[in-house]
Amino acid sequence: MAGYKVLVIDDSPFIFKAVKRALEPNGFEVVDNAPNGKIGVEMYDKYQPDVITLDVTMPIMDGIETAKALIARAPDVKIIMLSAMGDESLHSQAREIGVKQFIRKPFKPDELLEKVNSLLGE
């Protein structure tokens, strides 16, 4: 999956590093890290990434609101939602707005890679 661009929208520097370490050795380019959804939407416009990893709990604009804003801009946008909580109501809410993949924190590199490849393969 060489050359695909990934944008990380997460207020945790640890997650940004974890995503880079999982995906960059596999040919992905992790273009940037937005610390909240508002900046994330701006960075989406700037980078036009192929995949976005999106945290649920963030200041200013949370993951659900950010996903809505991104999907409104680009209905085909590929989002993996990350959360320390994995309850079904959150997943249902996200699925309803068009998020197709979820991953629970902490995640293994292989796990993230598999989900990103699955999204891109669709």
Partner: protein
């Protein structure tokens, strides 16, 4: 979209309404943005918020200020030590200040406070959010106290 709340005016109003009733004289000194990690007071009272408004609220004080608060909250002339009843009264104090301040924010969102926690020690540092918090400095009788917060909500 939620926004970081500016609570200085509401805090001052709450203190004006609440502290004199407890026999505590106070005055507002200043408010400033704090670094993410900042130094704390010897006695700190933390309340967390979630759901409609999310964040943390910390009242920091010296032992002297704490004794004044305990006197006021328990309706005593003088208090010399901090026992269990005193600790409870300090927790009631932070819950009252936090709750009454946030009740002044024009929002339809529910305010849910967690259980207050009392944290004491020396050379305390605290980090209540990943983004810089705001801290209000007050004078209380002949000592000081602070209120630090980083709270987001939808208005």
């Amino acid at each position: 979209m939620s926004e970081v709340l500016e609570l200085k005016d509401h805090l001052i109003k709450t203190c004006e309404e609440f502290l004199p009733r407890k026999g505590i004289r106070f005055s507002f000194i200043k408010e400033k943005a704090e670094n993410t990690l900042n130094s704390g007071d010897p006695i700190n009272l933390l309340v967390g918020l979630s759901k409609g408004m999310e964040g943390n609220f910390v009242v920091g004080m010296s032992k002297k200020a704490a004794l004044y608060v305990i006197c006021g909250m328990t309706n005593q002339e003088e208090v010399f030590s901090i026992d269990n009843i005193a600790r409870n009264s300090l927790c009631d104090f932070v819950a009252a200040i936090c709750g009454q301040t946030l009740a002044k924010v024009p929002t339809k969102k529910l305010i849910s406070l967690s259980s207050p926690t009392l944290v004491t020690g020396e050379r305390i540092c605290l980090m209540i959010s990943k983004t810089p918090a705001r801290k209000c400095f007050f004078r209380m009788n002949d000592t000081n106290f602070t209120i630090a917060y980083n709270i987001e909500g939808e208005l």
